[in-house]
């Protein structure tokens, strides 16, 4: 393993950030919704994570465990920059405490099943009364409305429901996971963060807050190109494409002589012409042979076989050197070990190294996207349970030591 970039996403660690002064209360668990808080925190928002006093967010125990029982690697990376405050929302005193926090905040993020918040006395009417400018991000598997709204919805299920999982794998074979299990959590959170920023802008202009409602399944469905239009018009049911693509050829993953994989994407005729040149087979791109995308698609097995044979005849480095010399869109199918060795990841500081209390160095993905004037940064990894409880209650809610002690006594915090 090679060395990685040091510190956080930005080297300019004191610069202004675009969400400075925005306060977010995150009462969610796991990633769908809370990830919106994570990226807002990278760009300066103060994100206060509200956790149950016994054990906190279950994401602390989900994923690869560490020497610390309160923190998996997933927790450490994806709860970056947040503060942790314990508060039991199932007790009236906890509800009262949350309402006081909401009154002093801009955004509330939650991902309980619909009506759970309402059952604790934290419905929209109550929250809006506490803070008319509040923006509330609600992320669930199926959204806040519709017949399935109360169903248990995890990313895996919602992605399958939204139509993505059906499409991953070889035609006629078992559908596989589309690479990363909680993809739907990330995508739904990105949509949620966009909606939240739009709603925040509106709230600041008009004084009126609102709800941003995201179903994980619909976030996934939204990014499936023309799949709905093509079915609606022509009854075409898109099926699994294996490692290829229906619209272009050659366009897929190919095994090299040293048993590694590369991706080649010849989206246009020009790209194929470059590939033919890289293969020292320029005749392949002639008008009589496969110069035209339609001809390649009609003869895709033949064309793919030629590329498969060529790629298998050389080591990965040689193939890539030849492709890149001709500007063929091609690249390594990177494992995480490849990524740690990659000079481009290093140059872009995509791997950040931070210290985790009691664990030493932890390598995590850096900040995305990159803003030229107000870059985001990682200030710290996922907090210990309740690390900011006293600070927040003292400084923000002006509670005194006796009041805090009483809340502890009653196991509210």
């Amino acid at each position: 393993m090679s060395a990685t970039a040091t510190n956080s996403g930005s080297t300019d660690s004191g610069s202004a950030r675009p969400l400075d002064g925005v306060r977010v209360i995150d009462v969610g668990n796991f990633l769908a919704g809370p990830y919106a808080g994570t990226i807002m925190a990278e760009f300066g928002a103060e994100v206060i994570k509200i956790e149950h006093p016994q054990g906190g967010d279950p994401m602390r125990r989900f994923g690869t465990t560490t020497a610390r029982p309160d923190a998996t690697l997933k927790w450490l990376s994806e709860s970056r920059n947040k503060k942790s405050v314990t508060c039991d929302l199932r007790q009236p005193e906890g509800v009262a405490l949350l309402l006081k926090l909401v009154a002093k905040s801009d955004i509330l993020i939650e991902n309980f099943r619909p009506e759970a918040m309402e059952s604790w006395g934290l419905g929209w009417d109550v929250l809006r009364a506490a803070n008319p400018r509040l923006v509330m991000l609600r992320v669930t598997g199926y959204g806040q409305t519709g017949p399935y709204r109360r169903r248990a919805g995890f990313a895996h299920i919602a992605q399958a429901f939204g139509g993505l999982n059906y499409l991953a794998g070889f035609p006629g074979e078992t559908p596989v996971l589309p690479g990363t299990v909680p993809l739907g959590d990330y995508v739904a959170s990105l949509f949620g963060a966009i909606g939240t920023l739009i709603a925040l802008r509106h709230a600041e202009q008009t004084g009126r807050g609102q709800i941003v409602d995201v179903g994980i399944y619909e976030a996934i469905f939204r990014i499936l190109e023309e799949i709905a239009a093509a079915y609606g018009l022509h009854g075409v049911v898109r099926e699994r494409e294996g490692s290829g693509s229906f619209v272009a050829c050659p366009h897929g993953h190919f095994r090299t002589r040293d048993d590694r994989w590369i991706a080649i994407a010849c989206t246009t005729d020009k790209m194929f012409e470059r590939l033919a040149a890289a293969m020292e087979r320029p005749e392949l791109a002639s008008a009589e042979l496969y110069g035209d995308q339609r001809k390649r698609l009609a003869a895709r097995e033949t064309v793919d076989a030629i590329v498969i044979d060529w790629v298998a005849s050389l080591d990965r480095k040689e193939i890539l050197d030849r492709c890149l010399a001709m500007e063929v869109p091609a690249g390594k199918v990177n494992s995480i070990a490849d990524i740690f060795e990659d000079e481009h990841f290093l140059a872009r500081s995509n791997l950040s190294v931070l210290q985790a209390e009691g664990l030493g160095e932890v390598v995590v993905p850096g900040v995305v996207p990159r803003l030229s004037k107000t870059p985001g940064r990682i200030t710290h990894l996922g907090p210990t349970l309740g690390d900011a409880t006293v600070t927040v209650l003292t400084e923000l809610l002006k509670l005194n030591a006796a009041e805090i002690a009483a809340l502890r006594e009653q196991r509210i915090i």
Binding site: E78, V176, Y217, E225, W261, E327, G331, L359, K373
Partner: protein, 410 residues
């Protein structure tokens, strides 16, 4: 399927008054402009006079000669032709930039600079400008000049390696344009923050978004686990069983598929109940995650057999009855028949102008309670609004516009 053209909420659109120029192509940066347009921004799509955006030719053809993807994803945009490589075109472009809030581009690095339209030039024209720059590999680093497509970005970012059967060929992670859309989302998030900063300080900036980074950022603990323990995650097939069992895809008697994910012991107990096999969740059998992880093949086999003995509908009804996290692997035909998609109005049918076709497109995500997004038009024809935009934005006369045409600048 929902019908009826979408109602408009013009007076409530939260980004009304924001002007966006989209000189990008295909999906990545244009999708950022699409999102802004759904929420009320005035999006001007600037295209090369010769054929325009390649997205017009990407996907299933419409009767009009463009494609269904174009019609859906260029929703709410106005199209103007312009050749940025002509001196007149560049001047018109700069005049427009002076009156614009956001610019979206995704040329290869150095292209706009070569045309003398790079960030340093444009920020002089408009110091308040927010510019989204999307490329495969970013504006910096050793690979910055390489051509970047989403497939290559999926491979570079680490997700393609993880999709497929263990030791088998890595497959496409469901959609070849996943990285494009995800970069559009990250880009839009960046644009909205940069607009906020600009409103507060008057200072514009650019956002450097790379397709591969959007993918890599969403690989959860892949990097920390390798960094700390040297663990290289491999392809997981249809089940992700590193932390939870059962957690994957299972086929049913009628040749369909369901997803079941039991992340916790409680959820497995519910599944065992749905299977009428509560004994499976007992302390001495598979009640604890550790036991299930240790005997993952046995547990998966039991679940596979059970699913294989029933139709998809039967499996799902039993799972729903005990609140087990389960659902269908929907194809698009399933989706069209699904009550939840109907109830949430996730699709709308819109009559496409000049094609005689009704196009069914996904409605805006996310759903804002007070200021919802809307679809006010489908993708425009090439240059449909050229003259309208030049008159409205730059106050040009017919003669000036005719002159630009003669010079092939528009």
């Amino acid at each position: 399927m929902t019908a009826s053209a979408n109602n408009t909420h013009d007076e409530r659109l939260p980004l009304k008054g924001i002007r966006v120029i989209d000189i990008a192509t295909v999906i990545a940066a244009p999708y950022c402009a699409t999102l802004l347009g759904e929420f009320g921004a005035d999006v001007l799509k600037l295209e090369h006079p010769d054929g325009g955006d390649a997205l017009r030719r990407f996907g299933t053809p419409s009767n009009r000669g463009d494609t269904l993807t174009w019609l859906s994803e260029s929703r709410n945009k106005r199209s103007m032709t312009i050749d940025l490589r002509t001196p007149e075109g560049a001047e018109v472009f700069k005049s427009m930039i002076a009156r614009t809030d956001v610019l979206c581009e995704n040329f290869r690095t150095g292209t706009l600079e070569r045309w003398n339209l790079g960030w340093d030039v444009l920020r002089q024209v408009n110091p308040r400008l927010v510019m989204l720059r999307v490329t495969g590999f970013g504006q910096t680093g050793p690979y910055k000049d390489r051509p970047g497509f989403a497939r290559v970005a999926h491979a570079m970012g680490g997700i393609a390696y993880l999709a497929g059967m263990p030791k088998g060929t890595p497959v496409t992670p469901g959609s070849t344009t996943l990285g494009d859309y995800m970069t559009g989302l990250y880009g839009c998030f960046g644009v909205l923050m940069a607009l906020r900063h600009r409103d507060l300080t008057g200072e514009g900036q650019f956002i450097d978004a790379a397709l591969y980074e959007s993918i890599f950022r969403c690989t959860e603990e892949l990097a920390p686990a390798y960094g700390m323990f040297g663990m290289v995650r491999e392809r997981q097939g249809s089940s992700h069983n590193d932390f939870a069992v059962p957690h994957g895809h299972f086929s049913t008697r009628d040749g369909k598929w369901v997803a079941i994910s039991c992340a916790t012991d409680m959820l497995f107990a519910r599944l065992a109940q749905a299977m009428s096999r509560p004994d499976l969740a007992a302390p001495h059998t598979y009640g604890e995650q550790e036991q299930r992880l240790a005997h993952r093949h046995d547990v998966n086999e039991i679940v596979r057999d059970w699913c294989g003995s029933l139709t998809r509908e039967e499996v799902l009804q039993r799972c729903y009855a005990t609140d087990t996290p389960a659902g269908p692997l929907n194809n698009i035909a399933d989706i069209f028949g699904d009550r939840q998609f109907h109830a949430r109005r996730n699709m709308v049918a819109i009559d496409a102008p000049d094609t005689g076709e009704q196009i069914i497109v996904p409605t805006p995500v996310p759903r804002l309670s007070e200021t919802p997004g809307s679809i006010r038009s489908l993708g425009p024809k090439l240059g449909e609004h050229t003259e309208e935009i030049l008159r409205e934005l730059l106050g040009m006369s017919d003669a000036e516009i005719a002159e630009l045409r003669v010079r092939k600048a528009i």
